[in-house]
Amino acid sequence: MSERRGAVPALSDPVLDRLRGALAAPELPERYVLGQPLGRGGMATVWRAHDLLLDREVAFKVLDLPEGEDDLAERLLREARVLAQLEHPGIVPVHDVGTLSAGRVFYAMKLVQGRRLDDVVRDGASLPERLRLFLRACEPVAFAHARGVLHRDLKPENVMTGPFGEVLVLDWGLAKKLDDREPAKAVCGSGTDITGHTGHEMRLGTPAYMPPEQREAGIVDERSDVYALGGVLHYLLHGAAPGECSVHLAKPVARRLASIVNRARALKPEARYATVSALAADVERFLAGSPVLAHPESLAERGLRLLSRHKVVVVLLLVYVLVRLALLLIAGR
């Protein structure tokens, strides 16, 4: 119910909701046909759209509100610039950037269709498969580090796997240049407000995956992303973020793998892997059945590992020895 004001008709609930929906939708350039919203973050919404000129599906990340005095527009543009400069199969390419007629800043990018890493775990992927996906996710991050860019919001929800096994790291909205040595401002990541102060200073990142130095707004570097990737690895192994109750997955976690996670997530940066590549290399060693740097093996552990790695041959040789012994016993009678 509402009051009638002047000649304007009363706004019923359906009309009100439709108006709100119409105002939420961005007015895209003529060559694009707007589709459904794909995801909503703290400051922007990602929309699906069809490019009539190139006859392909694209994604538009559009600020919810028009450019104002705050720095959200600049942040979105910076995100677009970062993505545009990082040309890697594991990083979404940017097609276009600009401001819509309503003053809303946007950038257009490749539409990524697939499953997020958390969905992959829920669907029951095997451990080797999960670890291989993790290794693939490390590649674009290592590439970005080599180009002087930190991600700062790595988590399972920001890693997508495509239908052909491709892995993409998404949401570079909090990316930072390595040579920018100012203390990390704490800001919102992907719609997860930790605390809000003014429009210029909010907290950064996702708490469960955020290293201490980022939480305390200290200096961040590649090892901060290593910490976050350690959290992602933890999620892949336990089915839950660090600090949450873990979902029971098929087998208990191998000690060497747990050591890798612990080293990546060491509280002090100097105790972690120095680079993402070093972390990935240790996970590769684990997959190959080789000793890992994070876990100094005792002699017994080494022996067990070798036995486990070559168990079939060991069993065959044992069978051979047993057969020989059996024949000896028979001959002895």
Partner: protein
């Protein structure tokens, strides 16, 4: 106090709530605030407290009079809650106190302690289970109504007049209809090309968006509140 239907808001950068606290701006700002929240308060009393239409007007007036008298808005702390939540809680407390006083003086009226389920014009389907949601809904309705009025005021002369007519016809009047008009229908009705209808409607929606944000900025007290309310008002919480 009486309701001022068209109190102009002279403030640009200053929010209503900040202006209310300033001696030279207080009265005008308060009148504008009342204008902004009269509708939501009225509707909330009808929907949530099942007040009869006759007594709702009196109750709304009494509420705002009490707010002015006790300088209730001075106690508002933006860090703790949104302003409309604060206002709703004040309203709930006011109604409870009024009913308690009425019972204490053994006065029977339409203000009963429990919802009686009496038949009013209120449609049961319009009832919100959540009081906060109910108040927010009415607040949104008032916000959009104000923005649409401002849009209408902008479109007094051609060519904007036809733009508003198109918008009214398409988005306001036929919005609920199962067989909604198409752009081609509108074009035929107004004797315009379809592309022009599309452009006019796009203009009207763009302006409405701008005006909704303009009204919202007047009715919020902090940047954060403005952004939160803006995202909700503009449908960012819709599925």
């Amino acid at each position: 106090m009486t309701r001022n239907h068209r109190a102009p808001f002279p403030f640009t950068r200053l929010s209503l709530l900040e202006a209310v606290r300033q001696p030279e701006l207080g009265e005008a700002a308060f009148a504008t605030l009342v204008e902004a929240y009269w509708g939501p308060v009225y509707s909330y009393l009808r929907l949530r407290w099942r007040v009869t239409p006759e007594e709702t007007e009196d109750l709304v007036q009494s509420f705002f009079a009490r707010v002015l008298e006790k300088r209730v808005f001075a106690a508002y702390n933006p860090e703790k809650a949104r302003f409309r939540t604060f206002l709703r809680l004040c309203l709930d407390r006011f109604v409870i106190n009024e009913r308690t006083a009425a019972m204490r003086h053994k006065r029977r009226g339409a203000l009963s302690a429990e919802p009686q389920g009496q038949s009013h014009e209120v449609e049961d389907s319009a009832l919100e289970p959540d009081p906060e949601e109910c108040f927010h809904r009415e607040w949104l309705r008032a916000l959009f109504a104000e923005a649409i009025e401002r849009l209408q005021a902008l479109c007094v002369e051609e060519p904007r007049r036809v733009r508003f007519k198109l918008f009214e016809r398409y988005d306001l009047l036929s919005g609920e209809s199962v067989n909604r008009l198409s752009y081609a229908d509108l074009a035929a009705e107004f004797g315009l090309p379809v592309t022009q209808v599309t452009n006019h409607l796009a203009w009207a929606r763009r302006e409405l968006r701008r005006l909704v944000l303009e009204v919202l900025r007047e009715r919020t007290v902090s940047e954060r509140e403005f952004r939160d309310e803006a995202r909700r008002a503009l449908g960012m919480d819709l599925p």
